[in-house]
């Protein structure tokens, strides 16, 4: 069978359900619930850091999470410091934050601030441990960090209640290694499908307080904050593609074993 035939099947499995909406219930997994509860329990006016450590290639999985997290924070009066260690993610993060801030009426400099990008991941993380403004002297738009109202009482990680790393690579491990043990910063993560499995050892030790797992986690989170969006929509379409792939694996193996039996 030509592989292009399989490609067409995949395309159809995406396009058809997209044109006819399907809505199946999503059950919430424990790591997602834990992160949600953690943020809910934060007193209002606490501050968290949201690290957009991903580029456009992972926006499908991580943008929906980022939106839900920002919505929850703004609703709960939790202040958000956003930043990125990936240059490719800078404009992406900046536009996404503005979009949700407008929707929720959050004010730049009071409810949130976007610090932008700085090169040198480990150095940036360690430098912020002693003084955030020594690394980010200004925010992305060029305002002096020390003069931003919400940053007045914030020097370093000691005043940060939680860091959520939205990751498409190894950035979560770097945050854990350098900010969690060294500065006792609480860390949670939202990650792409590829790296979900390797996050679990950190959940068990408490080095991660919660985890949002790929597009499934994004859908779960949308259910928790009760704002259905792309995550919910897309996980339903995923159902059909996964069924197709499972079917292909099974079919391929049946053919393979039949052939082998015949050869014997």
């Amino acid at each position: 069978m030509d592989r292009r035939f399989v490609y067409i099947l995949v395309a159809l499995a995406v396009i058809i359900p997209m044109l006819f909406r399907v809505n199946l219930p999503v059950s919430v997994s424990e790591p997602t619930q834990k992160l949600y509860d953690y943020i809910e329990a934060l007193p209002s006016d606490s501050t968290i850091i949201l690290a957009f450590d991903y580029g456009p290639s992972s926006l499908a999985e991580l943008n929906p999470m980022a939106k839900s997290l920002l919505r929850q924070c703004f609703d709960n009066d939790v202040r958000v410091i956003a930043l990125t260690l990936y240059p490719d993610g800078t404009t992406l993060a900046s536009t996404l934050i503005q979009e949700i801030a407008e929707e929720k009426g959050a004010v730049d400099g009071e409810d949130y601030v976007f610090l932008g990008f700085r090169p040198g991941a480990t150095q940036v993380i360690l430098g912020m441990g002693s003084d955030i403004s020594s690394v980010f002297e200004t925010d992305y738009s060029g305002k002096a960090t020390t003069e931003i109202p919400m940053m007045k009482d914030i020097t370093n990680y000691a005043q940060i209640s939680l860091l959520i790393d939205l990751a498409s690579g190894s950035s979560t491990e770097v945050w854990i290694t350098y900010a969690n043990v060294q500065y006792n910063l609480q860390i949670a993560a939202g990650v792409t499908g590829v790296i979900i499995s390797q996050m679990y050892p950190y959940l068990q030790t408490g080095q991660l307080v919660g985890l949002i797992s790929g597009i499934l986690g994004a859908a779960e989170y949308e259910r928790l904050i009760d704002v259905p969006a792309k995550g919910m929509l897309w996980i339903n379409i995923e159902s059909f593609v996964h069924l197709l792939i499972v079917g292909l694996v099974v079919a391929g193996n049946i053919i393979f074993f039949n052939q082998r039996r015949r050869e014997e």
């Binding site: 932008g116 700085r118 590829v194 408490g206 929509l233």
Partner: protein
Amino acid sequence: MELFGIWVAALLTLCIYSFLYQDNPFYRFAEHLYVGISVGYGIVLSIHQGLIPFAFKPFWAAVTGESLIGLVKLIPIGVGLLFFARLSPGHTWLIRYPIAILIGFGSGVAIPNVLRANIFEQTRGTIEPFAAMHAGTLSGWGVFEAVLMVVGVVCTLTYFFFSVEHRGPVKWLSKVGIAFLMIGFGSAFGNTVMGRVALLIQRADFLLGDWLNLIS
């Protein structure tokens, strides 16, 4: 401009998908443009968000006498500038200086932190459920899971023992280890599929929704 942008984005998306048929000029066009644009974007970001705040501003403050402590910062700036030696074939060896500093720094911070975050913490995490077991707060199923965890970690580690021949009990431990590894990789496989498919769905959402307006 926005509509034009969507059309550009859609056409470029289709150019890349044309690779599924076979390698062709449209794909090569899009791919090379993509490399150029993203490298250009990276350069601009690194200059505006890296070189200017970290090197240019302190340099300026130091030479204008605004901050005399800034003079100390001239040393790392000078070391950083050595990277440009890459452009002069006879002096390429000079880039070893900044690289050596960054690598020495990186290795130095890594040793205690990796030891703590990945070895101490992970070992402690494996032992800790047994404290709960001693305290009697663990259910029967919880006891099973705790034992399974220790067995899994020990066996996986055994598989990665290289200076011992895998014979007798070591062989069996490493066999169990490989089974755990396969389950681990299998779960990564399943999750990776979910991730890749999500990327495709997002693009389909863009093409059918934003571009063709076929979905409400």
